[in-house]
């Protein structure tokens, strides 16, 4: 036709696209081409963002960035940035409806019963028991309240100002349940005790009958009471999201809790209220149990359609043999996050003797990862722990 021949440019258009356009049009093929370069070129298998498959992005952390909070931190993992602020508020035990009931039924006996049911040795109880009581207190009274917000305009998919998306809610729950199961915060740090003074005359009146016991009684201290608790509101804002929000959010929570200082508080009998000192030197830091570090991985499959064909779902044994055609990518960025379906998330901590303890392990969304891969990923995560410890120690 005449019109087309008129518009045809003198130079024939080149059929190649710039890489950025190719990445948008064919994201799967683009990443695959990076990960499996032709054998002839002798190039290493590398991700589209230039990282090795099991390499994490550069991470930085900064503590105490927000002045109006009790503790805060900004953690940046590549282009994902999370801000976390911890605010402490008082919860008077008078305001807890079930307080007097909860106090009389001691948690330890319940636990003893439970252990007995499980046929365990009840006698071997050390500080684990105390840990459990801690956990029960923190859980029952909801002393930790984390909330994650993604509606900050962090990524195009999340509208600013919109109600919390399902992802945000799900991560909030994960953080809370990890705070509980890792027992990171000690309940004792959150308690505000009151030592009732010995009021001599009253005591004497009470044990008039016991002449012998009187002296011993007056010397003995009255039992301490818990008058209030600190409730920690942990708010996390993801201000920029480029994949892997959980790792960044969790790192910011840990960094902020390490930074948290609670003011010295005491029960004032005359005012019948809790008073706090505004002297920074009297404030105390939280003593945390361990330093859990989260690392996430995703699996990129060469054949994206393998999951739906009628026949070629491989048997588990067969599949172990080849194992090609899929790559485990550490710390996926936003681009890789959209292309991968199977995910692994591991939270590890190291004990003083250097032994790695897993606090949480999640694998969902596929069938290519099994024992051997998970073992490798746990090793990678424990190496990541060393890196993150350095970063936390510096901030």
């Amino acid at each position: 036709m005449a019109s087309t021949s008129n518009e045809a440019p003198a130079v024939p258009p080149s059929l190649s696209l710039p890489p950025s356009q190719f990445a948008r049009l064919q994201p799967h093929a683009y990443l695959l081409a990076h990960l499996s370069p032709p054998a002839a070129t002798n190039q290493p298998s590398i991700r589209a963002n230039g990282r090795e498959p099991l390499q994490f992005r550069t991470t930085s952390a900064n503590c105490g960035s927000l002045t109006h909070t009790n503790g805060s931190a900004v953690v940046r993992i590549g282009d994902t940035a999370a801000v976390c602020g911890v605010r402490a508020e008082l919860l008077h035990t008078d305001d807890i409806a079930s307080w007097s009931v909860a106090r009389t039924s001691s948690a330890s006996t319940n636990k003893r019963q439970r252990l007995a049911e499980l046929g365990e040795d009840v006698t071997e109880e050390d500080n684990e028991d105390e840990d459990d009581q801690d956990r029960a207190h923190i859980e029952d009274l909801s002393l930790l309240v984390p909330n994650l917000s993604l509606s900050t305009g962090c990524a195009p998919g999340y509208l600013p100002g919109a109600p919390p998306s399902t992802t945000a809610q799900s991560i909030s729950h994960e953080i809370l349940s990890l705070l509980h199961s890792s027992r990171l915060v000690k309940a004792d740090d959150l308690r505000i005790w009151y030592q009732p003074p010995n009021l001599g005359p009253e005591d004497e009146q009470m044990d008039v009958d016991e002449g012998a016991g009187k002296k011993a009684e007056t010397e003995e201290q009255k039992p301490r009471e818990i008058k209030a608790y600190w409730v920690l509101y942990i708010d996390i804002m993801i201000i920029s999201l480029a994949g892997n929000p959980f790792d960044a959010a969790w790192a910011s929570v840990v960094a902020a809790l390490r930074d948290t200082k609670l003011p010295n508080a005491w029960w004032d009998v005359d005012n019948e209220t809790v008073l706090c000192s505004d002297d920074v030197s009297e404030a105390h830091k939280l003593t945390l149990r361990g330093l859990p570090v989260a690392s996430s991985f995703c699996v990129f499959e060469a054949d994206a359609a393998a999951g739906w064909r009628a026949k070629p779902i491989p048997n588990a044994q067969q599949q172990k043999k080849d194992g090609k055609g899929r790559w485990i990518l550490a710390d996926p960025d936003g681009y890789e996050d959209n292309l991968a379906h199977e995910r692994v998330s591991i939270v590890v901590d190291k004990e003083k003797n250097g032994k790695t303890v897993i606090l949480k392990m999640e694998k969902v969304g596929g069938w290519t990862i099994d024992t051997e891969d998970l073992r490798r990923l746990v090793d990678v995560s424990s190496k990541r722990w060393d890196e993150m410890k350095q970063i936390f120690d510096q901030c």
């Binding site: 044994q317 599949q319 969902v364």
Partner: protein, 249 residues
Amino acid sequence: MVGPTASLSNLHRADGSASYKCPVTGYDVLGAVNAPIELPARKDALKPEDATIEVFVKPGKATAGVGERYVERILRTMLEKVILGREKGLPRRGVVITLAAVGGEAAERGDSYITIIPALLHASLLALISAAVPLSMTFTTTLLGVTRSGQIIRDPSPAAAKAVASLHVLSFSSKGHLLLSESQGRFDFETWELVRQQAASICRAVATTGSDGDTDMGEGADGAHVDAFVRETVEDSLHRDYTWKLESA
């Protein structure tokens, strides 16, 4: 040990439904599946060649909260791989799975929701089968707890689950793949391997190789493989559905 009970197609207006009850943990889940249905709005725009899978979990006593969102996400990401969303008639349509916890203890705020995952997964699998949604494989799930002394207990009750050192939910496909592994608490990798071995022997009728021979034998004697249980339930329901045909033949 009392085995679980299940029945298919109990609801008449849903495309498929199933109820699953586990007497040991006390969970009783009623599941309904509607598929394929037209989706409102443009939810199909993201992946036009695939079906959109939605999972809703309703707790027994309260409104759904953040914990349910978390469970829904796990179920959705797992089922997206199992449901053949590209079969004829499914792309750009929705598969909606609604699960209601009818009985059992409701998890409290910040509790681990992983104790209820096996019941939810079994109910959704049976409901999907009842709705005749094409699946690439079936799967079975089990909950294991590891006590402080390193003893592995099967299906701990919600109260017992609070006392264990770590909790594990593992799901295996009918072909032996590890589909889901959720673990919580303090444990090391060797413990997890033992748990995986035992879970595999509970879920699947195939004998496991390894040092764990005695537990395998015990489970075999019980005949309590979850795999066989799912199979029998579906067989029974099919048998009932086709009674007319069998009798006329």
